[in-house]
Symmetry: C2
Subunit: 300 residues, 2 copies
């Protein structure tokens, strides 16, 4: 199976598992959770976690709950970021955002539920005694750290605080690394940890994840600035309207594209110690580069 197909197969695997972990129960809360969870995301973080874990020989039985957990954390962050009090976005992945469909209170609580349930899911596998439990604890620590004040939430606050201000590249980079980079980095690292990696292999996965995480946010900046709503599925040019700190705002378009290519190269370089085992991870990095460039090609 080629790498592209293998990625699609893992995406479907994650979708099926998410359907089991967040079942439809006919109530408003589960409807709201599933609406955002199954709204056509790329499953980058979950596929990345699986691919990282598989690259070091991890068991899918342990990796899949973590892949779903990190996707649930990502989804909660999108629901809360879109709220009227935060980024006030009405469109995401071509569909009305959760609070537009279910109201603000349900959107807040659906986000809370996804974040909480993520940790239930990541501790839901049956385990014998021994090392598996220790690696589960360490992986949860890595993910919670990346999603918390030193990572995603802290980055989101910094992002809001810098709206409309002149910022340096170092500041934008710092915000991006926390807001988006940290969780993607943790997906790669946690895959390695649950997969039993240590030493050079774990360092390779962590370095790869960090560079890829920054690349994803730069690609997002580029797409918001250059692609149309029809391509991105969300209302574009919002970053500029709000005076957001982005790579395009600070560097201009050409240099932002160069920065994206540079981070993707850095991610690929980090994978070298893994050799052939990094096939899917290599393909994921290429897709991120392609995704950033595609926005520009389709621009109006």
């Amino acid at each position: 199976m080629n790498a592209e197909r293998a990625i699609i197969a893992r995406r479907r695997m994650v979708d099926r598992a998410l359907g089991r972990y967040v079942p439809a129960r006919g109530d408003t809360l589960s409807r709201a959770m599933r609406y955002s969870l199954f709204s056509g995301g790329k499953r980058l973080r979950s596929v990345l976690l699986l691919a990282a874990g598989e690259a070091v020989g991890g068991e899918r039985r342990l990796l899949l709950p973590f892949a779903c957990g990190i996707e649930m954390i990502h989804t909660y962050s999108l629901i809360h970021d879109d709220l009227p009090a935060i980024d006030d976005d009405a469109l995401r992945r071509g569909k009305p955002t959760a609070h537009c469909v279910f109201g603000e209170s349900t959107a807040i609580l659906a986000g809370d539920a996804l974040l909480t349930e993520a940790f239930r899911v990541m501790t839901s596998m049956s385990m014998g005694k021994g090392d598996a439990a220790l690696s589960v604890v360490t992986a949860i620590r890595a993910i919670a750290t990346a999603a918390g004040v030193r990572g995603m939430v802290g980055g989101q606050v910094a992002d809001l605080e810098h709206e409309g201000k002149r910022v340096s590249l170092a500041t934008v980079r710092g915000i991006h690394c926390r807001k988006t980079g940290a969780l993607i980095g943790a997906a790669s690292e946690a895959g390695g940890l649950v997969g039993g990696a240590s030493g050079a292999a774990l360092r390779a996965l962590t370095g790869y994840g960090r560079a890829l995480g920054l690349a994803v946010q730069i690609a997002d900046d580029v797409r918001d600035a250059e692609a149309s709503t029809a391509v991105t599925g969300k209302i574009t040019r919002r970053d500029q309207q709000r005076g957001k700190a982005t790579y395009v705002a600070v560097l201009g378009s050409a240099a932002a594209h160069a920065a994206l290519r540079r981070e993707v190269s850095r991610a690929l370089r980090a994978l070298r110690p893994l050799g052939d085992r990094a096939r899917l991870l290599t393909q994921l990095a290429r897709q991120v580069a392609e995704w950033g460039e595609a926005g520009a090609r389709h621009s109006s």
Copy 2:
């Protein structure tokens, strides 16, 4: 040391540990998190977790991160419940609520951060190989389950959905058990799990926690209906204004008091297998009863 003093000592221990886990860093996010975290709560859930773990011989080094984690989860839930889109409360523990002080976006994100950091804190202790990690995983699962769709968040949604409707006692009981009871039950259970309990001792702690959790919410209903704002530190009679499903609304005051006494008795009965080791847990149950009755005594 008598039980009352021992409880105060543990409350201080939790306060000091929370100060280390959520340090003041001069930024808005940590200010907002600490504002709500150190606003004079009774620390019931954290002291209960410590007392449950100590009753079965658990190590404080492992119990304290869990005690702090559960207090952080409780605090996040208060911040989000008070939001304008949810219960729209302006006063809590005699102080303006988080969104009144820091704005809505910071309040949402401070809640998100507390919930996320709770799981970081609960996985922050250093562990050798072996059983400790397994009990940590099991305890996290119990807490996340109690805080998620089948517990606290699900109960909060049900609570909002039943506003202004005529409800049966069974419905109110079900909402209370999820909204408040589940997390308090999980505090007792997780203390037991991290403390290494199994069999009859773990069942005793779980049964005690569930009954106590329901008692706490009935006591809250009674206080909202009968005490003044000066006594409770929040604007009272809000339940009635909103047509909330409460024990007082369904049963009237006298029967609500009787239900409170009944659940406290049930909690105390559940502790019997633990004998003398349950001294602090017994005292905590008495304090919950006293707290419900005190509201009535001070009523105007």
